[in-house]
Subunit: 343 residues, 4 copies
């Protein structure tokens, strides 16, 4: 199965050729290390054009670190962080948030990976009571781990709830491009403008090699972040190669083209399977993921040709991810295989 484009993870795709070229282009002579170089300054300026001059932005290596360090910057260890039970910070980071921040994570059960004010409110008590971890951050994922997307109004409602309670809103934007593509909006409109305080801005799942940004919409929150990043083992020495990626990714709408394509491939997959009775799509397909329940015995058969992950062993729910380089013919081939195996 070497190098076959499959549906296991958008992390399995390679690097977009424009981004690879951009990395090569900055590979000239010496530049000062640790981010004080012209490439990094340019990339940060480009991002400030997008997110606003009042933002403060830092590059790190990966999404887990963007989440953990962004959260660390806005918490003390006696705080709690409210998140969905399916969120990456709760489910897929091996306890990195607890280890680094010392905070308690409160995992909220959801139907579709999205928090709601009603669900959050259940956890908003014990303020000022020293025996209780103080609720301080709400963390949402956009697009969510279940392939769904928050609307601007939904984000604003959560932000209001947070701020009314002197809490902050964090967004894990590992797949933020897919959400923006879906919403038809610029990044700022559903992040800073909607009340998000700190954002993990990801690109690795959409054509980059490595590198993620932590975006603070209030500089007061980030005033000591350079120390947090260094102590958090996330200050790249040869920073120019991260910066070059972001510069390319954010130029010529590359991020948008990639995301629109990945989303459309997920839509195609879902729509082609609509009439297959044995496949039950379980979540709205709003970004680049398709969740479906299949007959259990069919799973290993399908995985032989296109590897993918089982999301829930018990219910035989699987996750299929599309990516910027998924081809329509890959989808059709996969659909044919599914129909064949399930009939």
């Amino acid at each position: 199965m070497k190098n076959i484009r499959g549906f296991a993870s958008d992390n399995n795709a390679g690097v977009h050729k424009s981004i690879m070229q951009a990395m090569k282009d900055v590979n000239v002579g010496h530049t000062i290390a640790y981010g004080n170089d012209i490439y990094t300054q340019a990339a940060l300026e480009k991002m400030k054009k997008i997110f606003g001059e009042e933002t403060d932005i830092y590059f790190v290596f990966i999404g887990t670190a963007a989440n953990v360090l962004g959260l660390d910057a806005i918490t003390q260890s006696y705080h709690s962080i409210i998140c969905a039970e399916t969120s990456h910070i709760h489910e897929d980071e091996c306890g990195a948030p607890e280890k680094f921040t010392g905070c308690k994570l409160l995992a909220v059960s959801t139907k579709d990976g999205k928090l709601t004010p009603t669900a959050i409110k259940k956890y908003l008590y014990g303020f000022d009571f020293e025996h209780h971890s103080q609720p301080h951050v709400i963390s949402i994922t956009q697009a969510s781990e279940m392939g769904t997307v928050y609307t601007v109004d939904e984000i604003k409602a959560i932000a209001e709830l947070a701020h009314e309670n002197n809490m902050l809103l964090h967004m894990d934007g590992a797949r933020i491009a897919n959400a923006a593509a879906r919403l038809g909006l610029g990044f700022k409109e559903f992040t800073g403008d909607a009340g998000v305080d700190v954002l993990s801005f990801g690109g690795t799942k959409n054509g980059m090699m490595y590198g993620e940004a932590v975006v603070f919409f209030n500089k007061e929150l980030s005033k000591n972040f350079k120390y947090v990043r260094k102590q958090g083992m996330q200050l790249a020495s040869k920073m120019r190669y991260i910066s070059a990626q972001f510069m390319s990714y954010l130029s010529n709408d590359l991020w948008l083209k990639n995301a629109l394509h990945a989303n459309s491939m997920a839509s195609l997959l879902a729509s082609e399977l609509k009439d297959v009775a044995a496949v039950k799509i379980t979540q709205k397909v709003e970004a680049n993921g398709v969740f479906a329940i299949l007959p259990k015995e069919a799973v290993p058969e399908l995985q032989k040709e296109f590897f993918f992950y089982v999301w829930n062993e018990e219910t035989s729910e699987v996750r299929w991810m599309t990516s910027y380089d998924t081809k329509a013919k890959d989808v059709r081939k996969f659909v044919r295989l599914i129909k064949e195996k399930l009939s």
Copy 2:
């Protein structure tokens, strides 16, 4: 001064063109993420050929993380770690070791950046006494932060001292290639064979873009390291691009050619300055760094044309680093400038 090759840091150099090509070569289709890919398996096998089949090896993003996570794997928080006062883990990682491991660092004063059994022994007391952080690890840097290199016998003597006291020996090998080039030895002969238990194996300062390896010479020490790496925010999703770098770096003696060249450029610089009375070389030049005391007023003048760092403000000691891409003509130009400014 854009992209001028200077003497500030080996981190300022770019990526060797063979390594850049190797990264491009693996940029084909999908591969499984997080290190279960064929490129990573191949790179790890190549490293095991070098370090021994009984080793256990993990890739991380940077040197600070290689040090911190390698130390974390072999300590409990009530342990202490003995290191040189000038060591990177004590001086240049913003407290990352303390934050992540909870351990106490005991910083030993040295003349040349190298620990000795005599200097270490002063800290070997309080064993079994619960009020005292238990000495558990000795950490040495090869080549040292002062541009000096431990001989095999020096390493063996420290390893013996460690093991006699049920302690472990950690080596920060951020510049291990420069040390190997100097010693004329393979990596294994002065690491695992000399008694090193855990090694941070670096390449970024010698032509790579990012990526460092933690090498365990005893699998018992690393049996849970995959969790430490993940929780430590150092598990790369698109691992193949780190692996490709290591594969190229370790092929065709690229690492050695680069290191030999960098070392020779430092030697050249030192030797050309031997007769300049106003420049006092303060450390043996055994790797790719030259430390020298200059008249204080000359420093800013020189920095205007070739940026470099002052190591010690008080004594006006400066550090000049050469790298794999330093040219002899760069050295000669710099020497001419020094002579001109100091005469």
Copy 3:
């Protein structure tokens, strides 16, 4: 309301006079500090008589510390700890377990404060998968925070589930005496003999002043605990005064008499309220706590004379705790007041 015996908390009661006397009795001359004294040796021997010679036992200051340090001794930071949503370690320790151990707590919803194998199993997945905090400890509270008591069989079933999965069973025994009194068993029969690996053994809520014990039923688990306790800021200098308390508490069945009495007072309170239509007892009364739903408007009226805590604002559920010094006349007076206010 100065010093009136109320129903707010068993922590509000004073110190039993025999225990106070015992503290005075050891106040003679000098003894070696930090637990190497004859009083501490005697108290530990007494405890080993109860729990078995193969146990290893350490005194700490408070219950939160007994829980946190006991858990720390048996976990690495990449582990998760499964507990009831109402457990003290999740709800009432301000995140101390996360801060000190770095572990993730998985909070399980329960009806009566008691975990069951079925409820736990939902969380037993992701073993060996490095992205997932590794489930490693199940923590139960005996008697539970809801005033209920696990039977020996219930504990054994959970212990088996834990051990089958290479996990460990922790018991928070802040009110272990009340549970033992209820079960009519010695401490060992429903702890070590039932499969508990580590126990927080409390006495402060049953007549002691301060001091709690961490009991390890397997010395392999505690071999470095003396360092954990010291680094955890829980090694008392004048240890003899903790030891004297335990010696007195465990002599002449003082612990049992106190617990039986407290339990009987809770039973009396519950039974006297059985016929009060406006009061709905919500949990089985198996130890020294009574949970009840009252008309919301009555609560402040009652609190004016006997302070107690509202457990759940929304449902107007309150918690009444009895203690070793509660008098039957206190209960009757309180019941009369309730009847008066609610009629």
Copy 4:
């Protein structure tokens, strides 16, 4: 040697009888737990009379915790804490400060246990440089671990240095009473008035059973301390028994009488040994400790009758501590023994 008054540690002494009586006196009925009781309010008010109305004061169990939590309140993990190599926080707390705060401790070599501005200045660099742990706190011990006492002017000079650099001054006052007795001053004059920002106020080494206070001279620093204390496992449930001790300790000059006596016993010991040629007193005797170098072979002989600790095995330096209950006859007996063994 049961209960013989020796010279090993002031922690080996018992509890002063007035303090024991005070604990008994508050053992009446129920009081609200966790510090909201009348006894605690009264004790805090008494302390505010001493330290000033603008202070904020919290009780904890022990000195290690007072130090660690006080430091935690005023640091972030990327800070460093400058202290003497002999300080309790560096040498005798098993790494508790590093584990809990994540900070780096910088241990300064001293002759007499006391820091000086000159010695500190060596560590004041790297401000604003993210690779370097940011120097943020200077911690001094009064009386020092070597039995010496800072003058008011010495403290002011260090405080000025700290504040000029936007740093804070912490004082470990485990033996603050002995220092006050020596200086002939009230507590405030050489703490808050001299520029100390946070103080660990101890009493256990001077007649109390347990309990220490953290005194903040600026409420901004302590605004979240109640959470730090709770998460730090130092919030006592039955707080009244700590408060009663402090109330008694601070009444009728009990603290002063005890400290004056202990100091005078150390003076007596030192003066009686002045003429013994084989005993070399190594530190000024300004509080209740005497440091001396003895012939190595004499040490075990002496320890058989009066246990004490060897401070430095190599030089055969020993430490003798006196306490509030040391009798002049104890000193004379010990001196006779020394003379006998050394002649």
